[in-house]
Amino acid sequence: MKKTVNIEESTARSMYKMASPEWKLALEETFGKKFFETSVEDRVFTIEDALNETGRPSVPDFDCVPTDLREFFKSVYKCVVVTEAFNEGKRIDIYNSDKRRHYPYFVNNGSSSAFGLCHTNCDFTHSYAGSGSRLSVLKSDNAKLIGERFKNEFRDMLSL
């Protein structure tokens, strides 16, 4: 008897990490070896890439919240999904004081068009306002990368 299994790309990637050599081979035959060799930094350039990477559903309409907050919540959702994508499924344990949490830091430079990454920060045991486990990344380089690559989404989240 033969059965067909449909596997999302994001599921295949997380399965691959824990798979036995036989299963790894089967996954490589299906998705291609290169598919498992690229890093998240080389895969995620757009929100669609981040949604695809995490397997999260597309950005909700947020028609449950008052009209003036909808665009804001859409941008929060986008930033949460981008952060998840770059953390590759690892949820940060914010109570672990040995683990650094990195996040981008922005300056508005006087106008929305000049808004940009200022630097990145990291914390061990402290967290402010809306940061925390959903908006921090594990690698300093990735905090810089998401701050530059997803500048518009972060700008919307911080200003709308």
């Binding site: 559903p57 959702y77 300056v107 045991t125 967290s127 402010y128 701050g147 989240m157 911080l158």
Partner: protein
Amino acid sequence: MKKGDKLKKKRPETVEDAFQMTGRPTVDFSNLPEDLRVHFENYYKAIVITEALNEGRKPDWDNWSENKWRPWFRMSSSAFGLYDTNCDGTYSGAGSGSRLVNFNEETAEYSATQFKDVWKEIQIG
């Protein structure tokens, strides 16, 4: 009545007070993935609390002399709580921004201590 007492009276003491003061509706986030609901529910509550405390005033990010205060928390599962408050003129880190800042240190401290559970759920939810 002292001026401080008057201000204190105007402040929301509960999340329900904040909803009442701002006229914001309660929201059902059940259309979101289940594991994200707590985060978004509490984010929304924090926005409503901040709006109530700021009495409708919005930050002007082009105004370098206007300080924007936000609470900092000590992340400990047994002793989560206010660590300090911090302010910026034009800088903002991921997760802070227009919707979660206050205009003076005292209000940021009040927000963090009075609504500690809401802030905690944003951080870990």
